[in-house]
């Protein structure tokens, strides 16, 4: 009875209300239906996602715990590698998704070991045929899966994958490129250096931070010839070269760095000043003296500070005129530099028209 009524009602609705709707109203009706259906779909998706995620999480947690236990027992010597492999193969047989979790655990474990400790884990990985999974991931269309595989290859020292890594080096994705370089450095391959165009390629500060971190782990003889980058036509590489000279204490490059104070890019000039400040080499003084009259503001203040830190009394006459500079900040920097060069409070008072500056410089609570 109810069904007949409902059918009758729908038919009536179609014949009367729906037929009477204008195009404008039909458009609105369509939007209501689409929005409502989308909202219902999203809610169902969210709920299902939550349920599945919780179940998967429980399964994954339990499996991960079993794998970690297995590896711990194996590392303690209570399991042979064959026993471990067959145990893990059982897990893979039960559910193929276990491969990914096993790979994750092996990778996480490998981070706890030094280079020489990786061979046992590599043996385990190969025994389970998971190295093929890595190669497969390396060919995946998603860069982040490739990056993950690259991390594993580098970490576990899988040298056979080197040609695969080299082929990918031209990627435009900077995160993947850095991972590839890291893996190649870990595998002892420096050929990536040949593939980089120092005259044209961009190198962001972020990439410089990542590369510098890698370089710091290398021996001095393993470092790339970064002094050649100082002559690159690309500012990013010049900057990186300067920063590496600073970081690796390349005093022999001070004259070359001095020439870079003529570079049109202010970032390069500031990086050189920073390098001079850090290195503290007296060889930098002539370049700084030539540079000083050409600049103002922060660069001039840094130059004054670097010269002041030299502690050379001969520089006093050179810095004294700057105590009357129109920029008060420069005046303070000049006075501070002169203080560093050994001038007393009384001598400085004679140079400055503003006693507040002198009091500030000699304030014991000054930060």
């Amino acid at each position: 009875m109810m069904r007949i009524n409902l059918t009758k009602w729908i038919a009536e609705l179609e014949n009367t209300w729906l037929d009477s709707l204008s195009t404008f109203q039909l458009l609105l009706l369509m939007l209501v239906v689409i929005s409502t259906l989308t909202a219902v779909f999203l809610v169902v998706y969210i709920v299902v996602l939550m349920v599945i995620r919780n179940r998967r999480q429980q399964w994954a947690d339990a499996l991960q715990a079993r794998i970690e236990d297995g590896i711990a027992i194996w590392l303690a010597g209570d399991y042979s590698i064959c026993e471990l492999i067959s145990t893990f193969q059982e897990e893979i047989k039960k559910d193929s998704r276990a491969r990914k979790i096993i790979l994750n655990v092996i990778f996480a474990t490998s981070k706890l070991f030094r280079q020489e400790g990786q061979s046992a884990l590599r043996q385990l990985l190969t025994g389970l045929n998971l190295h093929h999974l890595c190669y497969k991931l390396l060919k995946n269309r998603h860069w982040y899966k490739q990056a993950y595989a690259t991390q594993i290859i580098g970490q576990l020292q899988m040298g056979l994958a080197l040609p695969l890594l080299k082929r990918k080096l031209q990627t435009k994705n900077s995160t993947l490129r850095i991972e590839l370089i890291t893996a190649m450095v870990a595998l002892g391959d420096q050929s990536w250096l040949e593939d980089i165009d120092y005259t044209n390629a961009h190198l962001s500060d972020w990439e410089q931070i990542l590369l510098l971190e890698r370089f710091r782990r290398l021996n001095t003889n393993q470092l790339p010839p970064f002094e050649t980058w100082l002559t690159s036509t690309h500012t990013d590489w010049v900057l990186f070269g300067i920063r590496l000279c600073r970081n690796f204490n390349r005093f022999d490059q001070v004259p070359e760095l001095g020439n870079l104070l003529k570079h049109p890019d202010q970032k390069v000039q500031i990086a050189v000043l920073d390098a001079f400040d850090y290195l503290g080499s007296p060889e930098a003084v002539p370049s700084l003296i030539r540079y000083m009259p050409q600049v103002t503001g922060d660069r001039l203040r840094t130059t004054l500070r670097v010269l002041g830190n030299q502690g050379d009394p001969d520089l006093v006459s050179l810095l004294t005129p700057y105590t009357e500079h129109p920029d008060p900040a420069v005046q303070v920097s000049a006075l501070s530099a002169l203080k560093e060069l050994g001038l007393t409070k009384i001598e400085l008072r004679q140079l400055s028209s503003n006693p507040k500056y002198i009091d500030h410089l000699f304030d014991p609570k000054r930060p």
Partner: protein
């Protein structure tokens, strides 16, 4: 006949306006989801700790203005000092507080007044003193005591004192994720072709979340319905909209609660304006205008990760005042920078961002209210088409619910901030009922803001904060 014609014409105008707005929202929501997924995948490979040990990390100054924050100021300072970053300083600016804000800091950190030469790069009221700690462990804390001048004045004082190349402006009562600075610095380091002038981050509501020692321990959906509706509102705004705007470099607002700025650019632009209560948006607009006029390539970036947790209003009164202030701030910004409106010289800002803010942020509540008035008039005149009326209402409602569900879905697929069934149920429930009670109120507050603006009202109005995970205590903003 004539009346009916005009009624139809107006109906079509309202409809087109609504449809365009719906289209913009859905396009930006889908684009945002794509961008967030990409971002999440990418950041899973980023080891931010590398910045911690790098000598190349630029110095960051955190500027936190404080006005009558005596009760929580020490805990808040502790939270800021514990952030993860290798090279940073925390500058708390006491903006002429009438309570013990300064004294509590002095006592807690054994601060001493130091000699400090302040360069007046940007305009601010007189700085009475600068305090530093003797203890090396907190040597990166500076407290600036100054005459009261409002939030923007306090921020300007902080800019004058700070030494970093970049500075972060934060509300002192916010809780930041420990790695917030590490994440926010990345866009500044990544760009090679253009200068990043500012970066913003996602703000989330911390009402009813568990916070201990300045750290967020447990995330919960608030029990209070007003706060809960704001959670959803923030999710829609931050997850479905701003990400897409940042992608096309069209972002005009970096929230005052958390933003990282290039100090040089801010200094050249003149710092924060004293003339508006929307100082955060006004600064970004002025910086962008300056860069456009100089024809310098630049970008305003945005991090979709939840980085900052703040307390949202829990009463209608305070919420109303907040929205009123936001509207007045927006009107100021639109008025000050009207030159860029559909001006092709300002590219994205002039042709897309500004018109969007004008038509769909400022005008939307007005159009919505006019639509309601228009329907009432039609009803009185007896020419209302009820089918159209109810269908339009149903369209707007179902679309609003759909968009809220989309925001929850994006959160579940990416950051998964709300994990429990209870929280999810609460969010879905509020998505269904919020259009009936919360949205009308925000529209009403916005209209009040417009009226107050035309009457020449200035100032922030008082705010009462409950305090995050702390007993309720009244304070007021400057």
């Amino acid at each position: 006949m004539n009346l009916s014609f005009w009624a139809n014409m107006l109906s079509y105008i309202f409809l087109v306006y609504t449809l365009v707005l719906m289209l913009i929202y859905i396009v930006s929501a889908l684009a945002s989801y794509r961008i967030i997924r990409q971002h999440v995948a990418e950041t899973s490979f980023v080891d931010f700790r590398q910045i911690l040990t790098s000598p190349l990390s630029p110095k960051i100054s955190i500027i936190a203005p404080a006005y009558n924050e005596a009760l929580n100021i020490v805990d808040n300072a502790k939270s800021l000092l514990a952030l993860e970053y290798p090279n940073f300083e925390v500058i708390i600016v006491n903006d002429g507080s009438k309570d013990e804000t300064l004294q509590r800091l002095i006592d807690a950190y054994k601060l001493e007044k130091t000699s400090f030469l302040v360069q007046q790069n940007v305009e601010c009221k007189e700085i009475i003193g600068v305090y530093k700690a003797r203890d090396e462990a907190v040597s990166h804390l500076t407290v600036v005591d100054k005459r009261n001048g409002g939030k923007s004045d306090a921020l300007n004082a902080g800019i004058n004192v700070c030494a970093g190349q970049l500075f972060a402006c934060i509300d002192v009562d916010c809780v930041l994720e420990r790695d917030a600075l590490l994440r926010m610095i990345k866009p500044f380091l990544e760009e090679t072709d253009q200068k990043v002038i500012a970066t913003g981050g996602v703000i989330r509501l911390a009402n009813d979340c568990v916070i201990r020692d300045g750290r967020l321990i447990e995330i919960n959906v608030p029990r209070n319905l007003i706060a809960r509706a704001q959670v959803l509102e923030y999710m829609r705004a931050f997850l479905l909209s701003r990400v897409a705007w940042a992608k096309i470099n069209g972002l005009m607002l970096i929230s005052g609660a958390l933003g990282l700025f290039d100090k040089q650019t801010v200094g050249e632009a003149g710092g924060y304006s004293h003339k508006t209560v929307g100082e955060d948006m006004e600064l970004v607009m002025r910086m962008r205008r300056m860069m456009e006029e100089r024809k310098q390539p630049y970008a305003v970036r945005y991090i979709p990760d939840p980085l900052c947790w703040t307390e949202g209003p829990t009463s209608w009164d305070i919420l109303g005042r907040q929205r009123n202030r936001w509207t007045r701030g927006l009107m100021d910004c639109l008025k000050f920078h009207r030159k860029v409106f559909f001006n092709p010289n300002y590219r994205i800002m002039g042709m897309i961002s500004y018109p969007f803010w004008f038509f769909y942020e400022w005008l939307a509540p007005i159009i919505e209210s006019l639509g309601l008035v228009f329907s009432i008039i039609l009803w009185i005149l007896g020419i209302i088409n009820w089918s159209s009326f109810w269908l339009l209402l149903a369209t707007v409602y179902s679309y609003a619910v759909c968009l809220s569900c989309l925001a929850i879905w994006v959160d579940q697929k990416t950051y998964l901030q709300y994990r429990s069934k209870r929280d999810l149920g609460r969010l879905l429930l509020i998505a269904l009922i919020e259009p009936f009670f919360y949205h009308p109120f925000t529209v009403y507050s916005s209209i009040r803001g417009n009226i107050d603006y035309l009457r020449g009202k200035k100032g922030w109005g008082s705010m009462t904060r409950q305090g995050l995970s702390k007993p309720a205590t009244p304070t007021s903003t400057s």
